[in-house]
Each structure stands twice: as structure tokens, then as C-alpha cells.
């Protein structure tokens, strides 16, 4: 293939004047990570709540949980991004909508991106939490009640501490998904890693240097996350219990 590689482009100054292209991409990684981490915190909070509610005997809570999961699972992520960015401000009272539209960049894209990714991921966390709770023997819940604990106490002291430790491996892969999925935020103008690689390609015309560098940065990030989570998993592992799901589940 006749493509002339020009790797020195990474050390040339980008047109914004903030430094080299390499620096420009690394700042992009920073945005990818702060977006993914904020969305992950949101996803864990909502996902744990919704997932737990769906295993309780409270009928209406289960139904609302199911509805929530079905809605946010069956709409493509990029469409949800557009809903948060373009549609949501229009549905609010006019003054509030106008205020949202005037939030300066990059926060004007960052906030909808975090909300969108957080809620999109919370559905998948909720599914894992539910599966984790259901993988525990039913006898444990019954024993908890028989010992005189209330339903809430049984969850707090018996069921949740175990199920969260069981589902840590599948949650790791969900965390990596948030990092990857944050790239969709480039469609609403957030300059995270993929968005910056694309911008670098447009400024410098160095297509493959830009994408190859971004790819290497993603691979290194993945490696760090996998190693860190593996250490955590070893620490909190419940002997004799392994995660549900895993390889044979569909997903990204």
C-alpha cells in the first residue's frame, strides 16, 4: 500500500495552539475518562437501585423498573444522545430550555453526554445486579426472614454484600464499555479522544497516524483498567461463587 507515514506529525503544533498533536490527543483521553467516570458513578447509583428493586416483591416497583430498562435498552445510544442534546431542552419550560442551550462549551456537550451515557449504562448495570441477586440461593433470603430480619435488613446484611462481590467481573466489562461508548459523544460536539483523532485528521491530513495513535491510547487504557480491576476482584472474591453471565452474553 502506498501511504507515506509521517509520525513526526505528533510533535507538530496543532492549529488551536495548545501544544503538540500528541498533547491534544492526551487531553482527549482526559475528557474520555472524566466523561466515563462521571457516567459510571451515575450508572452504578441508578443501576444498583433499579436492579435491586426489580428483585423485590413490590409489584409496582418491579413494573417501573422493567419499563425503565426496556426503554433505555431499545433505543440506540446515538439517538439517546440526540434526545438529551436536541430534544430534552425543548420539552422544558422555555426559560429553562434557553438557559441550558446557553451553557458554554465544553460543558454544554459534557453534561448531556454524562446523563445519556450514565442512564444508558445504568440499564446494563441493573441487569447485572438483578442477575447477581437471583444467582444467590433462595434459602438465604428465607433464612434471613426466619432469623427475624426485615425484608430491608435481609437485603442490607445478607443479599447485597454478596451479590455485589459476585458481579464485579461483569461490571468490569461494563466499565470498559462506558469508556468506549463515550466516543459517541463526539456527535454532540464533545472533543474526547476519538473526536480529537478525527479533528487531527482533518487539520493535518495525517489519517492513519491520528487513528493509530488513538487506538494505541485506547489499548493502553484498557490494559490499565483490566489490571486494576483484576487486583480488586482478587481482593473481594467470594470463595466458591463465580460470576453469572460472562462470555456467552451478547453485548459490547
Amino acid at each position: 500500500m502506498n501511504y507515506n507515514w509521517h509520525w513526526k506529525v505528533l510533535f507538530e503544533t496543532e492549529p488551536g495552539g495548545t501544544g503538540t498533536y500528541l498533547n491534544y490527543l492526551i487531553v482527549g483521553l482526559g475528557w474520555t475518562l472524566v466523561t466515563a467516570l462521571a457516567a459510571w458513578a451515575l450508572a452504578l447509583a441508578i443501576g444498583a437501585t433499579v436492579g435491586t428493586l426489580r428483585t423485590t416483591p413490590i409489584r409496582w416497583a418491579v413494573r417501573i423498573g422493567d419499563l425503565y430498562v426496556e426503554i433505555f435498552r431499545n433505543i440506540p445510544l446515538i439517538v439517546q444522545m440526540f434526545l438529551w442534546f436536541f430534544v430534552f431542552p425543548e420539552l422544558l419550560p422555555k426559560a429553562m430550555g434557553d438557559w441550558i442551550k446557553q451553557v458554554p462549551p465544553p460543558w454544554g456537550s459534557y453534561i448531556p453526554a454524562v446523563l445519556c451515557l450514565g442512564i444508558f449504562t445504568s440499564v446494563r448495570v441493573a441487569e447485572q445486579v438483578k442477575a447477581g441477586i437471583q444467582s444467590l440461593p433462595r434459602g438465604q433470603r428465607m433464612a434471613g426472614i426466619a432469623m427475624g430480619l426485615t425484608e430491608a435488613q435481609t437485603y442490607r446484611h445478607v443479599i447485597l454484600p454478596q451479590s455485589f462481590r459476585i458481579i464485579l467481573p461483569p461490571l468490569t466489562s461494563e466499565f470498559m464499555n462506558v469508556i468506549k461508548n463515550s466516543s459517541v459523544a463526539l456527535t454532540i460536539g464533545l472533543l474526547e479522544l476519538t473526536g480529537r483523532a478525527r479533528a487531527m485528521q482533518e487539520f493535518s491530513f495525517r489519517v492513519f497516524e491520528a487513528f493509530a495513535t488513538a487506538t494505541v491510547i485506547y489499548l493502553l487504557t484498557n490494559l490499565v483498567v483490566v489490571l486494576a480491576m483484576r487486583a480488586l476482584e482478587r481482593k473481594v472474591r467470594v470463595p466458591g461463587l463465580i460470576a453469572v453471565g460472562g462470555a456467552s452474553q451478547a453485548g459490547h
Binding site: Y3, R73, V79, F208, F211, Y218
Partner: protein
Amino acid sequence: MDSGFDFDVIQRSWVYLFREGMSFTLTLTALAMTGGIVFGTLLAMMRLSSIKPVSVLAGGYVNLMRSIPLVLVIFWFFFLVPYIGAWILREPNPVKVGAFWSALITFTMFEAAYYCEIMRAGIQSIPRGQVWSSYALGLNYWQTMAQIVLPQAFRNMLPVLLTQTIILFQDTSLVYVISATDFLGAASKIANRDYRLVEMYTFVAVVYFVISYGLSTLVRQLQERTATIK
């Protein structure tokens, strides 16, 4: 909420949206699913191969694809495919490739990595004894795979393969980033032309929801049916 909304825009444009946009999306989904499952099954066989370089190569490919965002993969292939085309056809300059072909190659290559992991689990779910007995009966590797292992693996994994296809169907909307006219792309063109973003994107969300929800309900029913047979 004052009603400055104009949902007539959908009535005016739905023929275009479905004839141009949805047919692009569905064709892309169907072809990428077929290509992805075929290539993914080959990758799974390679990953389980006892020949070390073959399994390492397939494993590396699958892990690479699973580690980087789909959007980045779409960009990669959008710019790479013209060079590969030039190399295959021995042309001096990059060949022009339309958005559809670029997207089809991207999704086939990308989804194959995910289908591969599903098929690998499927192949491993078949007891080894079946493979040994078919070797003992004189069948070779390809005959064993084609006639004994793969039909069962495929059947065991059918619900998961279909669920992955629903994800693929949703993911094809990302071709928006290379300005292809899929369902979302078509809607986005109308939305920007008539300045009706709220109405169009809401409509797009509803259509995707109805199709995805309908398909996942069917998969669930299939799962219950096949589960009782076992």
C-alpha cells in the same frame, strides 16, 4: 410547553425515511449479520485451534476489535478501505468506495469479533466426547465441525446470536458519523432541512424502540421454547 411542534413533517417525509433510510439500515444489518456470523465462526474455530500461531492471531484480532470504540473502527475502515481496494486492484491511487460498502465491511469485521466469542462458547458447550467419537468413526476435522459440532453449537447459541443482531441493528445508526443515509441519517437530513429536530429525533427513537422491543420479545419467546426442549 407551548406547541410550536409540527408533527406533519413526519407525514411529509415518511416515504423517504423508510424507502431510503430504513432499507439502508435493514440491508446493512442483514448482510453484516450474515457476514459477521460466518467470519465470526471461522474466528472461533481459529481461536480454539491447537495450532498456536493460528489461535494467537485470531485472539489478537478479537481482542483488538473489542478494545476500541465502534466509532473509531468506523473511521478506520472509512479511510482504510480505499487503500486496501487500491492494493487489491493494483491501482496507483485509493479507490472510491461508497458509504454503504464501507459500512458493510466495517460492521462485518467488527461484529465478527463479538459473534466469535458467542460461537466459541457454543462450540465449547458441546461435550468433547462427541468430537472424539466422530474422529473414531473416520470423519476429518471439517466434517466433524460441519456435521456434528457447529449445528448444535449454532442451535444452543441462537438466542444470544439474535440478541447480538438486535445490538447490531441499533449500532448501524452510528454510520451517521460518516454521513451515510441510514434511517437516522435520513431523519437527520430532513430535521436539519426543515428545522424540525425535536419531532424527527423523537420519531426515530420511537421507531427504533418498537422494532428492537418487538424483536427482543420474539427472542425471549424463542429462548423459552428452546429451553424446554433441552
